[in-house]
Symmetry: D2
Subunit: 436 residues, 4 copies
């Protein structure tokens, strides 16, 4: 992603626009083929003086103006007439917005591929280790048991929704911007639409109904979808990081030399992949807010809002792509510690089955009384460090409603998984329908 | 929108869930019809003690627990056995999330209708006043002329994109949440999916592949789409507010007694509708960031993140709906001052036609020389307070390339609108295809 | 805090301004005493029709205009001449800004007191349980041991910094706003400053050098300081919530009937106090961003930015005050489980002392070799489930540098606390200097 | 500012920490002088392989670990024993946090100087052009006249408050961080505080009461203050940009070749300095939210939160410094167009004096009747395109309360400036007291 948004690539994307425009002018009968050929030949980033570009940009307020100046110089040196067709009909924002669209097309392609890889890695986790049981946890307290597959299916289900969102957004957002000074294409007179269509064809971008320079919802939507994606990545990373705590130890990031150490403590193995993802999950939401806040741009080109997008959009893409790559490598090499899952399930001496017991009792005693009995048995189990099954057996009212065998069954996590398997199957099946 | 998110409505939505669950339990052969009837009869918000609810919520950490307690008391008073079927298989989050989904369904319905009304109002503006010419402005400086229709078509085009986004999001996001304590529906044993399907049917909500309590992208997506909508509303309001400045005066919000006055200055007519919209455009982006930042929720139910959503989501809906209503009334009654548009077009003594001149010259002299000549003529026009056409005529090199008639044609705004009309037609046509 | 920002209180604060202004006009020889008495007598919120106020506010764009209209009616009914002195010299923003300042004065007072109480509760925790040892944790992995007092001293140190920031901000931010329509006080002619000074005196607010209606840094600073406070509260709550995880169990929120239960699982005891604080820590930062984003307000009164502050500022105050109260009650009743601290310290079989060993070896073997040896011993300890002391003894190079007694000493957490006690003492001493 | 936060400078700041630590160990009798000299000699950024650093950082999760590895290699090549004293007692976060503190010290120094320069430029504007009259504007509508000096004094007053805030924050926030693995300095045994004090002395940083690695309010406060500053800069830039609109034309950014042009329109002179400032004012608030949101970091070192700060803090500094520099150059060379100020004052045909008239009438007729009369006169003035003075004269009730001379006086802007001059004097005087 660093490549897609490098300084050089940004310039090249803008030059791609200028070259395509020259060709489109030829196809529309405006420019002579020769002029287009010369212009095109000078649209290679390596010909440009980047230092001068930086200096002049600071003054001009956009990079487009000094870039086109250099392009004009390069072309005019070869053919002054040809230089008259440079940028014809276009304005700075056309070059910069469409240039960014071209970069975002590559970025979204990469992120789409990353989501697919991540989904596959999770699917493999489900297939290989999905039937392992661990403790479900709510508000950071142990709740009831779940299969690892259900937890992972939840992650995957969200990833799959992003795989649905991203193409919708790409289709809607990544289109040509070409409107000239104020969106009328006036400089091209009656040929505006013809040139626009040819330009869109050259760049393989859809032609929108109307130039959208002053309507920024397209870029903001890309930002928002990436924000949603990073939110899910953050959720997965948070789960993994919490399950990797020394005291829980059910998961661990893959080990590798030089990975996740500490400068002070030689024994440390820090979940550094998750740290990258969680940092992105903190940083991206405010950046999405920036893109939304920048939307109300003045008239036909904004003062401040447009400029605020320039670095923000690439940052969001970079953070999303980085988080995606890190999380993929974490999940692909994830260490799963079955023994710790097992021992953690036993940690509360049966308390995590309190719902199971309460449900059975509620049908016999009504909801309120059932809860009372179970809550009291839980309290006694905690105070006396006994197993909940034991304190229930010691409670005459409770005991009368269960046989020992029923209780044994109730306290076996394998009997308390409900329709987990069906849920997992549904998610896996839905995933398969999306495969090529 | 205030109704949709009132305290009473929130409680009613949760009770709707509980009533539907009771019916679903009957349909699944778990609860007897009689129990369901009693439970259902007590699921009316007016039966509840809201003050007690507030007090107990503060302690319990969610409103679901004390609400179900009151429901249990109400039902148990009539039939203790029936109370055993209350909330069976569900957890607090099921009630609260699905309750919010039901509220969002209504909110999105209203916002969709609001977008439609707004689009229509803009379309009528295009039809009635679209051919008026005004000055296009970039970076707050006068640029080239545009028809009012093109400006409004840009607004409408964005509004139409939102009309496409919102249904996609509603379909994906507004689904049943029902998973029990940790998403396994364990308390319902093998009947979990059957009950879930019946419950979804009762509430007329789609049944998702898997419970999504810990995956918050659905709510965050609704927030993001509303954020995009508000961004566009802000853009339109900003345009109108700027065009309503005393010194520009091309537009004015509709006048009404008591509207937009000042406590100090009797002459003031403030664009207070735009103020509401612009305030929303400042407030909503950070609230969207809140929803995104809240996504990485711990394990099977979050600590902090989930709770952060509760007031944020309704606020976003309220701000979006309020902005939509205000902007609609502004546009519906918008005053258009043709005379000021005309006089503002003449304000720069022809400078706004500099692009037109430069384009013609560039084809003859090359881009660099053409710009030089025009920039110099512009400078002289400014310094000597002359019309640009005049300073061009005084410049020998420029004069040689134009006849007086050509210059007259170049400086007539009606000749410098490019394909504006085609753009407007395309947007209007696309809008019509969306109509029912 | 709910009281401070209730609808009624907001209106009363504005009426307090109007009453004080009437008195100030008398003191400045502008209004007759009688007029002031009548005006003052009508400045009681209970006299006002709040429903009408709401309706007219929606239209007017501010609450000040319809409020002053009702005040005018009330006064004119008694004495029409007196009504000529209502609001004299002032504008809507004067009333609303100063009204908010009066509310913020109370809010900051309460938050300052809350910080003091919180600091005291932490100090008591330090004094009572500060010498207990627990595991320090970095990146969610066990690191080296620390005394509970050091952890708590870190919290307190931050709280004390907030107790230093808040008064600085209150002194700078909470001042009179009074400038009339555009900040000149023109309607009062040459008496503007005199009235302003009298008004400031009446309201016991400092008189600023110049009206600040268009410079919003004062309110934004209050928001920012509250944001900093909530960030610290969130940090403390996160520590407590993590230490309360079932698998760590070193702390627990105070128990109380009805507190922190689950609607599905009778055994749950959720850290609901921490949840409230953590939710605030997610919600407040974007709200602070709103206040900052609203600062660039147009000219002498903003369009959108000013309006965006109205509900945001009270929300920030409410969230901060709520988080403060919840965290105080959590810490005051905090359960500390010494046994779990002890057993968690032993969980890694000595690995958490790897830094201790490495430091001793580094002085003898150089940093690189020392780390290599210790890392290898750690790896073997993990693989073979042995104590690190044991694997070190089995390693010939390491063994040669330690006696058994040295190793015993190295692996005793009480010997690896460095200057923790001194740090704690310094913080406690600094706290005492701040006491009254 | 780009220098202060360059990759090289960041590394150098961390090496400065390591060199100072080596000296501090000598001063505390722990390390031999020779070791310190060798370590210090290798603490120069130019000796380091930055590409390797980048690669290893990605894996390690922090830049500190691979940096210290290179330092260790460099030193060990010269003297293996010396390498045992590298980083002794410290942890990654000590190096990185204190390194950032050193960079922020320079950044804040520069920003403080920038504020001083900006304040001076505004003061000069006040002195030179402060008595010019222009129209005050509220909600983007013309209100009453003000002197330019009053507008600028409002700006300056806010800038001066920032000059008060920044030193408070620098003093409180920019202190040494040194705590070792978990904040106990255990590796230094009983000498921890001695080394810490020596290290603080070497780096000329205050020694805090306790390590603050897990309490991030210090960095967040710097961010917040910079956020407040940028908000004010944005306010000033917004005023200037709006006053530079073609249709208002009262101000213009300084002209320079290559400054603020358009690639399409040769006549354009865009307020590009203001654009940079306004873009910063959109981007910084969410970045401040990031710093606040990152505060609740886990235990003794966070997972995600800490990492989120690394690029955010430098970005905030860079945006603030950039905005400051641009705004300073805009104000220093600001073009002031007195003629446009004058003609804009006359634009409404006297309406902007409605408050003046209403105030006089209110004392005679009561507030309600006065407003009615004036509002009606204003309406007629608008409809009939007459001067308000004229429509008042035509209104019998109004006319009876004014002589022609009184009306003349009322409609002269020079008579409606209230205590503007006193306000300006107060701000200028306060500014002078702050001068060295």
């Amino acid at each position: 992603m660093r490549d897609v948004f490098s300084g050089r690539r940004r310039v090249q994307s803008m030059l791609d626009f200028e070259a395509a425009l020259a060709r489109a002018l030829v196809r529309s009968g405006i420019a002579p083929e020769a002029a287009s050929r010369i212009i095109e030949s000078q649209c290679r980033a390596e010909l440009y003086d980047f230092e001068r570009l930086a200096t002049e940009t600071a003054l001009a307020g956009t990079v487009a103006i000094p870039l086109i100046r250099q392009l004009t110089e390069l072309v005019a040196r070869r053919d002054n007439t040809a230089s008259g067709f440079i940028h014809l009909g276009a304005t700075s924002q056309d070059v910069m917005d469409t240039g960014l669209v071209l970069q975002l097309r590559d970025a979204c392609e990469a992120i789409g591929a990353g989501l697919e890889k991540l989904s596959l890695a999770i699917a493999q986790l489900v297939e290989r280790r999905g039937s392992l049981l661990l403790t479900g946890r709510t508000l950071l307290q142990q709740a009831s048991p779940i299969p690892l597959g259900l937890k992972a299916a939840g992650w995957m289900d969200a990833v799959e929704r992003h795989r649905e969102r991203l193409p919708e957004t790409r289709r809607r957002a990544l289109v040509l911007q070409f409107g000239g000074a104020v969106g009328t294409l006036a400089a091209l007179q009656e040929k505006g639409l013809q040139v626009a269509a040819a330009l869109a064809g050259e760049l393989k971008l859809p032609l929108p109904d109307v130039p959208w320079h002053a309507q920024r919802d397209r870029f903001a939507e890309v930002a928002a979808v990436l924000g949603l994606i990073v939110g899910t990545l953050g959720k997965i990373a948070r789960d993994i990081a919490l399950l990797s705590q020394t005291e829980i130890g059910e998961l661990a990031e893959p080990a590798a030399p030089g990975r996740g150490g500490s400068s002070a403590m030689p024994h440390k193995r820090n979940p550094v992949g998750c740290a990258v993802v969680l940092a992105a999950a903190i940083r991206v939401p405010p950046l999405v807010a920036t893109m939304l806040a920048a939307m109300p741009q003045e008239h036909e080109r904004g003062l401040g809002g447009w400029q605020a997008e320039w670095e923000t959009m690439p940052q969001i893409c970079g953070l999303a792509a980085g988080a995606l790559a890190h999380l993929h490598s974490v999940i692909e090499g994830l260490e799963v510690h079955e023994d710790r899952m097992q021992s953690n399930l036993e940690l509360t001496r049966g308390l995590i089955f309190s719902e199971a017991v309460a449900v059975v009792l509620a049908r016999k005693l009504g909801r309120a009384r059932a809860r009372e009995i179970v809550e009291q048995a839980c309290r006694r189990a905690l105070q006396q460090q006994k197993h909940l099954r034991q304190t229930l057996l010691e409670e005459s009212e409770a005991r009368s409603h269960f046989t020992r065998e029923e209780l044994d069954r109730l306290f076996d996590p394998r009997n308390y998984l409900g329709v987990s398997r069906e849920f997992v199957d549904r998610v896996m099946a839905a995933r398969r329908t999306r495969e090529p």
